[in-house]
């Protein structure tokens, strides 16, 4: 008997994530790559890599759903849903409601509230500005001439931090330059930047019940969770791979629609 499989592709503004699951919702393979400017090409590559990792050769009977900013660019997807629905579905695979999901993405942040039954109560996306998102940290890393992957360790090791007051990424950049001029330590500045991300999240909504943190920024900068813990009393949890929750959710929705294999 052949296993029933389903796939999910989350084409984000920054990275494209792909997941394949089996009948039981177990992840057989996943892949993440930069989206670049060719969303269709990125989704093709991500999907091929995922199939290869999962050891799946035939794609004939695999139902694939897409999500994310570029969800309509995935030519082989049979359906698409927003990242709001898919992140929620992905988180429900690991945790039960009620919960507040905090997703920190490349260019937008999301707060999604689910009730006891896992049904959505409300959601919010950040406003037009990308303050507090991955784009903010990328911009700041560039200004500080730091590789992105070093940020988490620097923030974690810091024994103090600078205070950055602005909403605006550009103005924050100016503030950072002022801090450098006045001799602030690099790790203190990075920790200040992390705190700025947390402040942007805190002002988006209230936090009720368990907080589930997802997104690429959390996957690569888990110290943000420690910082958020200093502000709220709620339990904070993360799924095993926070970055692929949207793709996983899309795959789980696809699984619901995937035809049952009769052989």
């Amino acid at each position: 008997m052949t296993l029933r499989l389903a796939g999910g592709i989350d084409v984000g503004s920054c990275t494209t994530k792909s997941v394949i699951v089996d009948d039981g919702g177990n992840i057989l393979g996943s892949h993440v790559l930069y989206s670049g400017t060719d969303f269709e090409g990125a989704s093709d590559i991500a999907w091929r890599e995922t199939l290869s990792l999962a050891g799946v050769s035939s794609t004939d009977s695999i139902c694939v759903f897409s999500t994310g900013y570029g969800r309509n660019s995935v030519s082989f997807a049979t359906n698409s849903l927003t990242e709001i629905s898919c992140h929620a579905r992905g988180c429900l695979h690991y945790f039960s409601g009620p919960m507040t999901i905090v997703d920190i993405g490349g260019q937008d942040n999301k707060i999604i509230k689910l009730d006891q039954k896992g049904l959505r109560v409300s959601f919010k996306m950040n406003r037009k500005c990308a303050a507090g998102t991955g784009a903010f940290l990328e911009e700041m890393a560039l200004r500080l001439r730091l590789p992105l992957e070093k940020l988490n360790d620097l923030a974690k090791q810091a024994d103090g931090e600078v205070t950055l007051g602005s909403y605006c990424t550009v103005f924050s950049g100016t503030e950072v330059l002022e801090k450098i001029k006045s001799g602030a330590a690099l790790d203190h500045i990075v920790r200040g930047l992390f705190h700025s991300v947390v402040k942007r999240i805190l002002e988006m909504d209230t936090f009720t019940d368990t907080v589930v943190m997802t997104g690429g920024v959390i996957e690569h900068n888990p110290f943000l969770i420690d910082l958020l813990k200093t502000h709220i009393q709620n339990d904070i949890v993360t799924p095993p791979h926070p970055q692929i929750m949207g793709a996983l959710g899309a795959a789980l929705y696809a699984l619901q629609e995937a035809p049952h294999n009769m052989d």
């Binding site: 927003t82 990242e83 709001i84 629905s85 959505r120 409300s122 959601f123 996306m125 037009k128």
Partner: protein
């Protein structure tokens, strides 16, 4: 939207008549400016238009011009010109679009009706019931053209309209009369005012009936239709042609109701829109809701031209009451009561609040109303961030995703 869906979409036939009325209105004003045979008063959208008509003015509404600049997507190109001379990007983008267009010497009236310039005002008459910006807007032109400006200063954020509010506003209106007589060259005539108020009353009753058609399931019109078909209620109130137009439109909508013809075929969800339209994105938003089989069936904005209080027996008092009972003028508790009623009567499944960057007076999400409403009515609410005219404040993709996600949430609720 696919070509097939576009073909399926049934346009409102009365639209062609409305276009003729609009053309006639603007051409009449243009002609009057060329010949000088009649004076032109500029009036804010809920200003004392009845008084102006009664004194023989042709009435021009710059807010309508602002909306035309938005709908034709000229606004975002001309707003920076107003910004450059000191009108902030954070103030009313009707104002900045209109002033910017004036500074550039362009108007959407040229393409639509062959009219080269907006009509120079002989007098500017405002009412601050909408916001303070209208006074500053009109003051620009008063300085520019050295023409008289008069205005009504409405009491704001009020719960109930009190007798002292009315007495004050009546007194303010009456104090305008000498200036209006001087500019128009006509004597004020109370009977003429009664006639105009009566025409406005008939118009507003019919406009209410148009909007109430949206309570039917499926609704025969959408919010986006209503933003277009409200034009006669806005710029022709007090004139008989507006009344005739709404009789025509109502007959068509009632036919649709009889035939159970929804404006959105297969209507699944019914939404309420609070706040201003995004004029430059009406088509895109309308198409998106159509594809999602979701109809925006009611709105605060289109209701703003329902003036139940008009009464020819007491023209001044009833005008004051009509202009002040406006949603925009009232406090949060009234606004909530008002919206709750429409939400119930129109079987609303969810509410969208448009937070218009440059219109704080008509962005009702800013004092936690959506959160209170969600709790009180158990109704999903969504805030979208944009603007009435300035598309620099609008993110197309983020808005699309928010709306799509909201409809997914409603789908989840209905199973």
């Amino acid at each position: 939207m696919s070509d097939r869906q576009k073909q399926l979409r049934k346009p409102i036939a009365a639209t062609s008549q409305m276009k003729k009325l609009m053309a006639a209105h603007f051409l009449e004003i243009d002609e009057a400016k060329k010949t000088g045979k009649q004076k032109v008063a500029w009036c804010t959208s809920v200003g004392p238009a009845e008084l102006l008509h009664s004194m023989g003015f042709l009435v021009y509404y710059p807010e309508n011009h602002g909306a035309l600049l938005g709908a034709t997507r000229m606004a975002t190109d001309v707003i920076p010109l107003a910004n450059a001379v000191g009108y902030s990007p954070d103030i009313c983008s009707y104002l900045t679009a209109d002033v910017g267009a004036y500074l550039k010497g362009v108007t959407p009236l040229t393409k639509a009706y062959g009219i080269q310039n907006i009509p120079r005002a002989d007098i500017l008459v405002y009412n601050t019931n909408q916001c303070r910006d209208v006074q500053d807007w009109f003051s620009f032109y008063a300085r520019e053209w050295d023409v008289p400006i008069v205005g009504i200063h409405t009491h704001r954020s009020i719960r109930e309209v009190q007798d002292f509010n009315i007495a004050d506003l009546v007194s303010q209106m009456k104090s305008m009369i000498p200036t209006l007589e001087q500019v128009s060259g006509n004597r004020f005539d109370i009977d003429r005012l009664r006639d105009v108020v009566d025409l406005s009353l008939q118009c507003t009753k019919l406009w209410r009936r148009v909007l109430e058609c949206g309570a039917t399931k499926p609704a025969p019109l959408t919010f986006f239709d209503a933003t277009i078909h409200m034009a006669p209620a806005v710029i022709l109130r007090g004139k008989p042609e507006a009344i005739e137009y709404y009789k025509l439109l109502i007959a068509e909508l009632e036919d649709r109701i009889k035939m159970k013809e929804g404006a959105v075929p297969g209507e699944r969800h019914r939404l309420y829109w609070d706040g201003m339209p995004v004029w430059g994105k009406l088509r895109e938003l309308s198409d998106q809701f159509y594809q999602l089989r979701t109809n925006v069936v009611a709105s605060t904005y289109c209701n703003s031209w329902i003036f139940d209080a008009f009464d020819p027996k007491d023209p001044f008092e009833s005008m004051a009451r009509a202009y002040t009972e406006l949603f925009n003028v009232r406090d949060e508790s009234f606004k909530e009561w008002y919206m709750d009623n429409w939400i119930e009567n129109f079987s609303i499944d969810g509410v969208i609040f448009h937070d218009a960057k440059t219109c704080p007076n008509n962005s009702n999400n800013r004092y936690s109303m959506p959160q209170r409403m969600a709790k009180r009515l158990g109704l999903p609410t969504l805030v979208i961030h944009g603007d009435l005219n300035d598309l620099r404040c609008y993110s197309e993709e983020q808005t699309r995703t928010n709306i799509e996600a909201f409809v997914e949430q409603l789908d989840q609720k209905t199973g």
